[in-house]
């Protein structure tokens, strides 16, 4: 099959929309709490990002398989129960294999349940579309969340601690820029990311208030 033609198929467009144009963080403005809070170190960002990729992909598939059996008035509580089941799996996995990262992430793993990306995509997509498309949609949106976290963590760890994945990369004479690793710096870096992303992706600007 001609590779170029894949770019026009529905599955590919579903995936790439979630992955780039409709970036979960900069476009849909979902899941900001954990983006800001865990992006101070690369290890935490990768662990959290992979956790979200797992929870989102699996729960999107499950919701889309169940979509004809879920009564519409109970659908939100169903999403929450499905999501929290998979979050418990991620939490136990991290506790057992990476106790250090698990203790640094603290309550933020549990907060994946109320991470609006997961619920938003379930409501907007998985509840209406087939399993294969829902898998791609979940994967695309959660990967966009993962790379956002990694980009932010890259800058925040280098500037805030002078290290990358715990290895020193900046010269000893570089004084750690402490505020970047704190909550305050997270706000400013996310604003810069939002700005650059919207410019690069050529998104339509919001109306002046």
């Amino acid at each position: 099959m001609n590779l170029r033609r894949i770019a026009y198929t529905r599955p590919w467009r579903t995936f790439i929309a979630g992955f780039f144009k409709e970036n979960a963080v900069a476009y849909q403005l979902l899941g900001l709490c954990s983006v800001l809070a865990v992006s101070n170190r690369m290890e935490n960002a990768i662990a959290m990002g992979l956790g979200v990729v797992f929870v989102m992909t699996v729960s999107s598939v499950l919701i889309s398989l169940l979509r004809n059996w879920i009564p519409s008035q109970y659908r939100l509580i169903t999403y929450m129960i499905v999501t929290s089941t998979f979050v418990i799996i991620v939490d136990l996995f991290l506790k057992a294999n990476f106790p250090l990262i698990s203790s640094q992430l603290g309550p933020y793993v549990g907060l994946i349940i109320t991470n609006c990306i997961v619920m938003g995509r379930q409501e907007a997509f998985a509840n209406k579309n087939g399993t294969w498309l829902s898998l791609l949609d979940g994967l695309g949106s959660s990967l966009s969340y993962l790379y956002t976290l990694v980009i932010l963590a890259f800058f925040r760890e280098i500037l805030g601690f002078g290290t990358l994945m715990g290895v020193r990369v900046m010269p000893e004479s570089f004084p750690p820029w402490v505020v970047i690793s704190m909550a305050q710096g997270a706000w400013f870096l996310l604003a810069i990311y939002y700005w650059v992303f919207r410019r690069v992706a050529k998104l339509k600007p919001v109306e002046q208030e």
Binding site: A37, P107, Q184, A191, Y194, V206, Q208
Partner: protein
Amino acid sequence: MTLNPLIILVAAVFTHNIALTYLIGICPMLAMSRRVGTAAGMGVAVTFVLAIIGPLNWVIYRLLLVPTHSEVMSFLVFIIVIASAVQLVEMLVSRFFPALHSSFGVFLPLITVNCAVLAVSLFVVLREYSLWQTVAFSIGTGIGWGLATTIIAGIRERLVLIGDVPADLRGAGITMVIAGILALAFIGFSGMVAIQ
């Protein structure tokens, strides 16, 4: 952990503000901070619901989950309690306090997805608070979230006076910058009380 509950309350409002220091409850904060009235109403609703749900989840965790060794289920139990308690609170308020319901009733269903509510229950478990400490922490968190959101809304309402915001930064972007500056200002409170 024998902290005075009052100290925990002050810390949760100022020095350890849930939105500005722990970065929790950000999505509703960005969405609700368009008008001061809306922001304040949501703040009241969150405080009200937290004051009920925080202690409720503490009681359920200590009296139901710990004795049966099913702490693993805590996420699932907490989220179901939150979702059903919010529904119940809305029904009770609309039945017995119609005036109150018309002022902040519309915000109540949105609280289920406010991560601050779930975060309070998770923090309380992690920090092993007592019941009174939990009550103080829940109320303080609600007030702190409402305070931060209302201040940001006040600044956003006046934003139009200062001129043009760069096109790609409008909306949520400039709100993040405002929140960052506000968070810097809140560093001024640090040292007032010490917890942890």
